[in-house]
C-alpha cells in the first residue's frame, strides 16, 4: 500500500517537474503598432529569472549599453536621428515562455530580436521570428540545429558548436606540436545532452581528420552527477595524453576536483565549449586545481581596445565584470541597429535584407567583420584558445589574438 502511494507521489512529482509544456496562445502576426513613429524598438529576450539569471541579466545590460551608445551618438541617422529603445522579455530559460515573449515583443513593434542564451529557447524564438518575418539575431546559441533549417530570418553572432570544436582540435594539434609534445590520444569527458555530445562528436570528427585518436568517450548526466572520480580513473587507465572536457559550470568544477585527486598522466586539460574553464569565477572557485587549464570557446576580444573600454564602462556601471555573453548581446544589437540605418526603414523585412548584407565590426573575437552566410551563421566568428595563467583567464592562441603564450603542461606533472 505504502509503496503504491510513494510511486503515485513520485509520478506526480516527475510530472510537475517536467512542466506541462502548454503552448501559449499565438496572437495574430505582429501588428507592427507604432513602428513608424517614436523610437525604433529592438527586442531583447534573455533568461532574467531562473537558474541562469546572472547571465541573462548580464546580456540584457549588454544590449542596453549598445542601445545607449547608439542614442548617445545621435540615434538612427538615416531616419532623422530617431532614438532606439530596448524592449525586453524574460524567457525564464524556458522554451515555451521564450516563444510567447517573442510574440509579445513582435506585437509591440520590435524591428528585430536578440537573444536568448539557451539553444532550446532560440529554437522556438527562431520559429516565431520566421513566421512573423522579423529578424532574430542570436547572441548566445551554441546548437547548430537552428541554422540547419534554412530559416531566412535567423542569424547568429557567436561561433556554433561545430566551429568551436573544430578549432579546438586544430589548436590542440598546433599548440602541442609547438610545445614539442605532439598529442596522440585524447579522452573526451562530456555531459550527455545535445550540448556536450554535440561538442564531442564534432571534436572527434575534426581530430580524427588530423590524425589524432579520440577515446574513450565518457559521458555523464550533468543534472544528477555528484562525483566524477570513477570517470577520470577511466581516463587514466586509457593512457590518453590529453583530456578534453565539455560540460556546464557545476559539473566541470566537479571534473576539476576529480582530476586533481586522480592525477591522470596528461599533458593538458582541454576545455571544448566548456562552461567553466574560461570563467573568472572558475579561477577563484577551483584555485590551484584549475591552473593551466585550456579552454576553446567564443570570447570577448581582449585584444580590442574598444572591448576593453566597454568592459571597463560595464564594470563601473554595474560593479561586476562583463561576461562574453553580454558582449555578444552588444554585438547583436549593433547588427540590427546598423541594418535599420542602412535600410532607412523600420520594416522588418527590409531590415532582414540589410542584416543579410551587413558588415559590422565585432567586439567579440572574430576573423573580420560580422557577416552572415546564407544559413545565418557569422562567417567570421572565431573561437579562441584561453588558459588559466597566474590566476587569470588569458587568450593564448591563435597568435594574433593572444595576450600570452600557451603553456602546454599540467601542474601535477613535472
Amino acid at each position: 500500500m505504502s509503496a503504491r502511494k510513494l510511486i503515485a507521489a513520485l509520478g506526480a512529482c516527475a510530472l510537475l517537474a517536467t512542466g506541462c509544456g502548454g503552448s501559449a496562445p499565438m496572437g495574430a502576426a505582429g501588428a507592427a503598432a507604432g513602428r513608424d513613429e517614436g523610437p525604433v524598438k529592438i527586442g531583447a529576450l534573455h533568461p532574467v529569472s531562473g537558474s541562469n539569471a546572472v547571465d541573462g541579466q548580464q546580456m540584457r545590460r549588454g544590449a542596453q549599453m549598445a542601445v545607449d551608445a547608439i542614442n548617445a551618438a545621435g540615434g538612427i541617422k538615416s531616419l532623422g536621428g530617431r532614438k532606439v529603445e530596448l524592449v525586453t522579455g524574460d524567457t525564464q530559460g524556458k522554451a515555451d515562455i521564450g516563444q510567447s515573449e517573442a510574440q509579445r515583443l513582435i506585437s509591440a513593434g520590435a524591428v528585430g530580436l536578440v537573444g536568448t542564451y539557451q539553444s532550446a529557447v532560440s529554437t522556438n524564438v527562431a520559429v516565431v521570428a520566421e513566421r512573423n518575418r522579423v529578424p532574430f539575431v542570436a547572441d548566445v546559441t551554441a546548437s547548430d540545429a537552428v541554422y540547419a533549417h534554412g530559416y531566412k530570418y535567423a542569424f547568429r553572432v557567436q561561433p556554433g558548436s561545430k566551429v568551436i570544436a573544430t578549432a579546438a582540435a586544430q589548436y590542440l594539434q598546433q599548440v602541442s606540436q609547438q610545445a614539442g609534445k605532439p598529442v596522440h590520444k585524447v579522452a573526451f569527458l562530456h555531459e550527455q545532452s545535445d550540448f556536450g555530445s554535440g561538442a564531442a562528436d564534432a571534436f572527434t570528427a575534426a581530430a580524427e581528420q588530423l590524425g589524432i585518436e579520440v577515446g574513450p568517450n565518457i559521458s555523464y548526466d550533468a543534472t544528477s552527477v555528484s562525483d566524477l572520480t570513477a570517470q577520470v580513473t577511466q581516463v587514466k587507465a586509457s593512457g590518453a595524453d590529453v583530456l578534453a572536457v565539455a560540460g556546464y559550470y557545476r559539473d566541470s568544477l566537479l571534473a576539476a576536483k576529480a582530476i586533481a585527486s586522480v592525477k591522470p598522466d596528461l599533458n593538458a586539460v582541454w576545455g571544448v565549449s566548456n562552461g567553466a574553464f574560461d570563467q573568472p569565477k572558475f579561477v577563484t572557485d577551483a584555485g590551484d586545481l584549475g591552473a593551466l587549464y585550456f579552454s576553446t570557446n567564443y570570447h570577448y576580444d581582449a585584444t580590442n581596445p574598444q572591448t576593453v573600454a566597454l568592459r571597463e564602462q560595464y564594470q563601473r556601471r554595474y560593479g561586476d565584470p562583463m561576461r562574453t555573453g553580454a558582449v555578444l548581446s552588444y554585438d547583436a544589437v549593433q547588427v540590427i541597429a546598423q541594418a535599420v540605418d542602412k535600410a532607412a526603414s523600420t520594416d522588418p523585412r527590409k531590415v532582414r535584407d540589410a542584416i543579410a548584407a551587413a558588415r559590422v565590426a565585432p567586439l567579440t573575437v572574430g576573423n573580420g567583420p560580422i557577416q552572415f552566410a546564407p544559413n545565418g551563421d557569422n562567417t567570421n566568428a572565431l573561437a579562441v584558445l584561453m588558459q588559466v595563467q597566474d590566476g587569470q583567464v588569458k587568450q593564448v592562441y591563435p597568435p594574433e589574438k593572444a595576450e600570452s603564450r600557451p603553456e602546454y603542461q599540467v601542474t601535477w606533472r613535472p
Binding site: 500500500m1 505504502s2 509503496a3 503504491r4 502511494k5 510513494l6 510511486i7 503515485a8 507521489a9 513520485l10 506526480a12 512529482c13 510537475l16 517537474a17 531562473g50 537558474s51 541562469n52 539569471a53 546572472v54 550527455q192 574513450p216 568517450n217 565518457i218 559521458s219 555523464y220 548526466d221 543534472t223 544528477s224 552527477v225 555528484s226 562525483d227 572520480t229 570513477a230 570517470q231 580513473t233 577511466q234 587514466k236 587507465a237 559550470y249 557545476r250 568544477l253 566537479l254 576536483k257 586533481a260 585527486s261 586522480v262 592525477k263 569565477k281 572557485d285 584555485g287
Partner: protein, 337 residues
C-alpha cells in the same frame, strides 16, 4: 491509519524465539544482494578490462552511498512515523547548505564546524514546518501534504535564488588531502562525509532503540491511537520526528558541502536518489536506508562502467523497479498485513 511501518521502528513486542526465522530470511536476502553485487562487479571488470577502474568505482560508490544513506534516513524516518512523503527534503538540504556556506563566508569557520549550527537550525526549521504547515493534514487526503511539501520545496528554492542568486558557490575544505587505497584515490573530504554519515546513522539508531523518545517514536509509528491511549503526546512526537528527520538533512548538508557545488536547486539532485534509497531499504527502516544508500551509490558508479557513463540514474531506476516488483516492502522491511 494502517500499520505501514516495520523494521527498526517496530517495537519489540515479541520475545526472541521467533527471531531465528526472521534472521534466516534476512540472511538469505543479504546473501542474494551480496551475490548480485559480486556478479555486478565481475561483469564490470569484464566490461572495462581494468581492475583499477572498477575498484575506484566501488570505493567512490561506497563513499558517496554513505551520504545518500544519511539523507535517506531522515526521509524514511518522516515517512515511517508520519506517513508523509516529504518532497521538500532536498530543498531543506539546500537551505542547510546555504546556512553552512553563509557561516563559512561570514566568519571563516571550518566547514565541519557548521554542523553544530546546521543541525539545530534544521531541527528548528523542521519543527516549524511541521507545526505550521503539516500538522493539520493528518487524516486528510494524500494530495494535501504532497502539494504542501512540493510547494514548500519550490518556495525554498526560489527564496534561495532570490537571496543568494543563481551563481554556483563552493565550500573549500582547508587542508583537504588525498590518499591512495590499493590504487584507488580517496579524497579526505569524501571519507569524512562517509564516516560522519555512519556515525550519525548509528546515533540515530541508538536514539530510536535505546531512549525513551525513541521508544515513543516507535510506538507512534506502530500504532498512533494506541500510543495516545497510553499517554504519549502523538502530536508532539510527530513534530519531533519531523524535526529530527530534517536535522538529518542538515547534517548531510554540512558534511557534503566540500564535495558539491552549492546551488539553490541542489536538492533536486539528491531528492530522487533518496526516495529510491528509502524504497530499497524498506520504508521507515533507518538502518535499511543507510545500507540502501551504500547499494545505490555502488549501482550508480557501476552503471557508469556498463553504459559508458550514460545517465547513471538509469541503473538506479532499474534497481528501483526491480525492488518494487520483487519486494515492494524493501530489502529490510517485513511484509505488511
Amino acid at each position: 491509519m494502517t500499520n505501514t511501518t516495520q523494521g527498526v521502528l517496530t517495537p519489540e513486542v515479541s520475545p526472541p524465539p521467533k527471531k531465528t526465522k526472521a534472521d534466516k530470511g534476512f540472511l538469505g536476502r543479504a546473501g542474494v544482494v551480496g551475490g548480485v553485487l559480486v556478479v555486478a562487479i565481475v561483469v564490470a571488470l569484464l566490461q572495462s578490462g581494468s581492475g583499477l577502474v572498477v575498484w575506484q568505482s566501488v570505493v567512490t560508490g561506497i563513499l558517496t552511498g554513505g551520504l545518500y544513506g544519511l539523507i535517506a534516513m531522515g526521509l524514511t524516518l518522516i515517512f515511517g512515523v508520519l506517513d508523509i512523503v516529504n518532497f521538500a527534503h532536498g530543498a531543506l538540504l539546500a537551505v542547510a547548505m546555504f546556512i553552512s556556506f553563509g557561516m563559512i563566508s561570514a566568519t571563516g569557520m571550518h566547514p565541519y564546524l557548521t554542523l553544530v549550527i546546521a543541525i539545530p537550525a534544521l531541527f528548528l526549521i523542521g519543527a516549524a514546518v511541521h507545526r505550521g504547515l503539516l500538522s493539520g493534514t493528518g487524516g486528510k487526503s494524500l494530495e494535501n501534504q504532497l502539494l504542501i511539501t512540493l510547494g514548500l520545496s519550490l518556495l525554498l528554492e526560489n527564496g534561495l535564488l532570490m537571496f543568494f542568486g543563481a551563481e554556483p558557490k563552493t565550500i573549500a575544505l582547508p587542508h583537504d588531502f588525498q590518499f591512495p587505497l590499493l590504487g584507488a584515490v580517496v579524497a579526505g573530504s569524501r571519507l569524512y562525509a562517509f564516516l560522519g554519515a555512519i556515525l550519525l546513522g548509528a546515533l540515530l539508531y541508538w536514539l530510536l532503540r535505546r531512549t525513551r523518545l525513541g521508544t515513543a517514536i516507535r510506538a507512534v509509528a506502530a500504532n498512533g491511537p494506541g500510543a495516545e491511549l497510553v499517554g504519549i503526546n502523538v502530536r508532539r512526537i510527530h513534530t519531533l520526528t519531523f524535526a529530527i528527520g530534517t536535522a538529518c538533512a542538515g547534517a548531510a548538508a554540512a558534511l557534503a558541502g566540500p564535495l558539491v557545488t552549492v546551488t539553490p536547486t541542489l536538492g533536486e539532485q539528491f531528492n530522487i536518489t533518496a526516495f529510491v534509497v528509502v524504497v530499497l531499504g524498506g520504508m521507515g527502516n533507518v538502518v535499511g536506508a543507510l545500507v540502501g544508500g551504500l547499494l545505490i551509490g555502488l549501482v550508480e558508479q557501476l552503471t557508469t562502467i556498463y553504459l559508458g557513463g550514460q545517465s547513471s540514474l538509469l541503473g538506479v531506476f532499474v534497481v528501483f523497479i526491480l525492488v518494487l516488483f520483487l519486494r515492494p516492502q524493501g530489502l529490510f522491511g517485513r511484509k505488511t498485513a
